[in-house]
């Protein structure tokens, strides 16, 4: 499918995008993502995080520039072939349809004609929901529902997973559980994860932070180098600073 020499699994080159004519929303963004990276896309509301993820997943087409997946323009893939390489979980997840957990997760097999290496029950077990396999998703908690989606993504088997604010509206307990699960899966399944977030508190959990504001990248690199006071102030329009305490914990000072 791809050769090991192709280092970047995703590469966006000089991408512009606008929802309305003459009003560019994403402006000349270029970024490259390497295999097994765990990337946090950080920025305030309306900064373009979701739009950038939709460009990266091929849902939207850039008005200028290109998006390459494993060295090939993403829109040149068939829908099914792309789905085997890249999976996207939107921010607003519709959980009102009474599918069972097993039915829901099983949709991860849709891009395939033959059964993938992982079974539906394996995927459900990996996210710790085996005892809920026959339950309706409408009866699950918010955190459990997110896990159902993660299980579906696992079954889909894509190496690159884009998640739009997966921790939004979750209690802190579920946020921590989900973050641990994703990091664990990244290790075990060799996945590359790009996650949009606006909660600075969890930014140090990532290998790399891409900070974005008004459709432009303000900085990209390890959290320690990107999350400077100046850059945070510029991004969020407020004087905040990330500090480490003696135990290594991180807190926001404002």
């Amino acid at each position: 499918m791809y050769s090991a020499s192709e280092k970047h699994i995703l590469e966006i080159k000089g991408a512009d995008f606008s929802y309305e004519k003459e009003k560019p929303f994403i402006k000349d963004i270029s970024l490259a993502v390497d295999n097994r990276e765990f990337i946090g896309l950080l920025g305030p509301n309306g900064s373009g995080k979701s739009t950038l993820l939709k460009l990266a997943s091929g849902i939207l087409r850039p008005t200028r520039g290109t998006v390459d997946l494993w060295g090939k323009e993403i829109h040149d893939y068939s829908n099914r072939d792309r789905a085997k390489l890249l999976s996207y979980l939107p921010q607003l997840l519709d959980m009102s349809i009474p599918f069972t957990v097993r039915e829901f997760v099983g949709m991860g097999m849709y891009p395939y004609d033959t059964l993938p290496e992982l079974t539906v029950d394996d995927a459900i077990e990996m996210v710790g929901l085996s005892s809920y396999a026959d339950s309706l998703i409408t009866n699950l908690s918010g955190g459990e529902r997110r896990r159902v989606y993660i299980a579906m993504t696992l079954l889909q088997g894509a190496g690159l997973v884009l998640l739009d604010e997966p921790l939004a509206n979750l209690d802190i307990k579920y946020q921590i559980e989900l973050l641990r699960l994703l990091k664990d899966l990244r290790e075990k399944r060799d996945m590359t994860l790009i996650m949009a977030l606006h909660d600075i508190n969890i930014a140090f959990q990532f290998d790399r932070i891409i900070m974005i504001k008004e459709g432009r990248i303000l900085g990209s690199g390890p959290p320690e180098t990107v999350l400077t006071r100046e850059r945070l102030n510029e991004a969020f329009d407020v004087d905040i600073e990330l500090k480490r305490d003696d135990a290594g914990g991180v807190y926001i000072r404002y």
Partner: protein, 320 residues
């Protein structure tokens, strides 16, 4: 699930058999006379076949549309397709058009349905895809317009065709014969096959367009294909026996209650359920005040409305 589906098939066969042998006159399957054979083959069998075909088309169309439009209140008539069919066919009846012989009314109804379907589809198309809200609003708007034109037509008409037109609009199976059935079979079978073959896409569309895209489908294209399937089935159904209400709305909800939300099971289950309900409704309609007949559409509404209200109390069942 397999056992449930097997039971649904058995129930459907039982209902179809009962509808064949019961009626204003009971015909015993043992020792059929020539007269009985004549009644069965020339009157009852085509009528049962038409009611099964129409019920299947409406039940399956409802299951597809509720998913495509992501709206639990959607039914095959919400897109205005049937109103277009009714307007053209009723006009044909009232003005005594006979250009296609015995096929005049079905052909007019089918043409009206397909032209309306194309128009609604064009209104719902924007930026390379079908948009559920646009489709829904275009269908509802056009449906109101056609209904108003139909009422206008009927209010200024006083000829003999008027009563026939009204009966036909409310679903009248009493004029069925074998001649039209093969055409109905073809269109409904094609529509069902398309819908069933896109059941996975329909499941993913129910989760939202972005997730459908992520699972390897093109939402706009899939919606277009499913819209074609529904248009074919609805047009064929209206052409066969007029407008039969409630089946397309009610049956998918009962289907979800029995077999769940997976469209791969729900579409065939809704088709069989629709066939059963219309068979029963027609049997009641032609037996209860014999020798008079009540249109099957009135019976489905009388049977369906209370059960629908009962289901309304179970909110989970009424989501798509």
């Amino acid at each position: 699930m397999k056992i449930k589906f097997f039971l649904i098939i058995l129930s459907a066969l039982a209902v179809f058999s009962i509808a064949l042998f019961c009626g204003p006159k009971w015909i015993s399957p043992m020792g059929l006379s020539d007269m009985d054979r004549q009644i069965l083959l020339s009157i009852r069998l085509p009528r049962v076949v038409v009611s099964v075909l129409m019920g299947m088309a409406l039940g399956a169309s409802g299951a597809v549309l509720q998913g495509v439009l992501r709206n639990p209140l959607a039914d095959p008539y919400i897109l205005g397709i049937s109103s277009g069919a009714a307007l053209i066919a009723a006009a044909g009846i009232i003005f005594g058009v006979t250009i296609f012989g015995v096929f005049t009314i079905p052909v007019l109804a089918f043409a009206g349905a397909m032209v309306t379907g194309i128009f609604v589809g064009a209104m719902g198309w924007k930026r390379g895809g079908f948009w559920p809200d646009r489709l829904l609003l275009a269908g509802v708007g056009l449906g109101f317009l056609f209904s108003a034109l139909l009422m206008l037509l009927m209010s200024v008409s006083s000829n003999e065709g008027l009563k026939r037109a009204i009966l036909w609009i409310y679903g009248d199976l009493s004029i069925t014969d074998w001649s039209i059935i093969p055409y109905g079979v073809i269109f409904i079978a094609v529509g069902l096959a398309i819908a069933f073959s896109r059941a996975k896409a329909l499941n993913s569309l129910m989760l939202g367009d972005d997730l459908a895209h992520s699972l390897g489908f093109s939402p706009g294209k899939e919606r277009f294909i499913l819209f074609i399937a529904v248009s074919l089935m609805t047009a064929a159904s209206v052409a066969l026996g007029g407008m039969i209400g409630f089946i397309g709305l009610l049956i998918p909800h009962i289907g979800r209650f029995v077999v769940g939300s997976d469209s791969r099971v729900l579409i065939p289950a809704s088709a069989l359920g629709g066939g059963m309900l219309l068979c029963i409704a027609d049997l009641i309609g032609k037996s209860i005040v014999s020798p008079m007949e009540l249109p099957a559409g009135i019976i489905t509404a009388i049977l369906g409305a209370p059960y629908f209200l009962y289901l309304l109390r179970k909110r989970d069942v009424l989501s798509i």
